[in-house]
Symmetry: C2
Subunit: 252 residues, 2 copies
Amino acid sequence: MVTTKSLIPPRIPCDLCPIGRRPHFRNFTQEELGFVQSFKIGELSVDPGATVISEGERHPQLYTVLTGWGYRYKILEDGRRQILNYVLPGDLVGLQGNLMAEMMHSVEALTRLTLCTFERDKLTTLFRDHPSLAYDLTWIASREESMLDEHLLSIGRRTALERAAYLLAFLDTRAEMTGVFVEGGPNILPLTQQHVADTLGLSLVHTNKTLRKLADMGMVRWLDRGCEVLDQRRLFDLAGWRPTKEGPRPFI
Amino acid sequence: MVTTKSLIPPRIPCDLCPIGRRPHFRNFTQEELGFVQSFKIGELSVDPGATVISEGERHPQLYTVLTGWGYRYKILEDGRRQILNYVLPGDLVGLQGNLMAEMMHSVEALTRLTLCTFERDKLTTLFRDHPSLAYDLTWIASREESMLDEHLLSIGRRTALERAAYLLAFLDTRAEMTGVFVEGGPNILPLTQQHVADTLGLSLVHTNKTLRKLADMGMVRWLDRGCEVLDQRRLFDLAGWRPTKEGPRPFI
DNA sequence: CGGGGCCTTGAGAAGTTTCAAATCGTGTGG
DNA sequence: CCACACGATTTGAAACTTCTCAAGGCCCCG
């Protein structure tokens, strides 16, 4: 039996956090660093395909993704699944559950995923003593909201081909900005076509035919369980979308 | 020329705010009330059909809806429009713009809409001196996020009929909880079928046929520019959805 | 009385789903 | 080492859903 989920004590001290060292992310003050360090209670490691959070359960922890890819989703009673968004390094996972009693969505790992674990109860202290971090939390929630707005526009009003172009361009630029691609290697989005289908709200068969078109147009290449974006610019044009440039981005 | 948008100085003092007096909303402490009062810079009144916020513009104000209905939307270059969510009394409007430089969506009034206006710059003070209100802001952002998750599931994975049932049941229960229906009168959702179409991601014609089915099944009645929900329970069952019960709900 | 906004309906075209089946590569057990 | 099962991708064809085009009715307002 393979370990799919394991919690270990903190190994990486926050002042050496790999996320803070990347471009596009903001830096903490010493004071903030001290608090975040005390806020952190461990590190969690999750195998590909394993579940980090389940809809309907209570979750006493919050997480920040350190490395790897995952996704948030909801399912209807009969099994129809909708992927809501993807989570990458620097993303906060599980905040919603703080406010609602139970989690309203599930989170699953796409690759091996490591997460920084925080104790939800200490959020009160965060809000009381660290207004700058509280502001960051709101910023983060607000950013997720804009991404969801964009997805909604896409699923609701774009054609299948435009949707696919949007999704792959969106993920590719997010991955770039986050620095989640493995150094040196080709830039691979670690998805199956089933994931794409469940994100776009299309059937697997039609998704396959749509991705084939994008591949025939030379914009992407499809691999065994992944996708390489070959021409970001043309995907942008096809989707009629452009990434918004962000200033230095907060994380916790 | 009819006035479509007019800003007046505060008339309603916050301690008499009609929202705080409704069930389901939380109450402020005296201390919070004092700050919110100073945060408020005026009241805005908007005619049906007028624009409160435009995508792409900067907005130095934040708003809380006092009375009436509105909606948030985005449009593609060629005019395709997607309604993202509706705004009702107690909802905060324009928070996203604080963090992103420009607004990423527009907001339009469905009925006559009155809004409480706040100065964005004072948010810093809010976070610094009023942690409980800062927490509420995060709560509010997080609530919006769950609603968007639910919409995404709906548009992506429900059939046209299920989507329509979900939307009307969702709006009807929200309106009930918010107390936005006019006293005594029938409970009318002030929408045209075009709004429904742009929310569900369907064409107007198909939306009409779908709503007709719901009406023939006796679940709703369609009026000139509005919809009356006749059988909430059956809409829930058809959509496979149930509203989440919230405890006392914060607002600013 | 005319115009405009909104709702309604029909019919053909286009897009999407479902069913069915074949290929390919990987990993496991015999 | 081979046979086999399995997951992922691919393809074709028929059924179904949804869109577009077109037009008519209704009601309110100027």
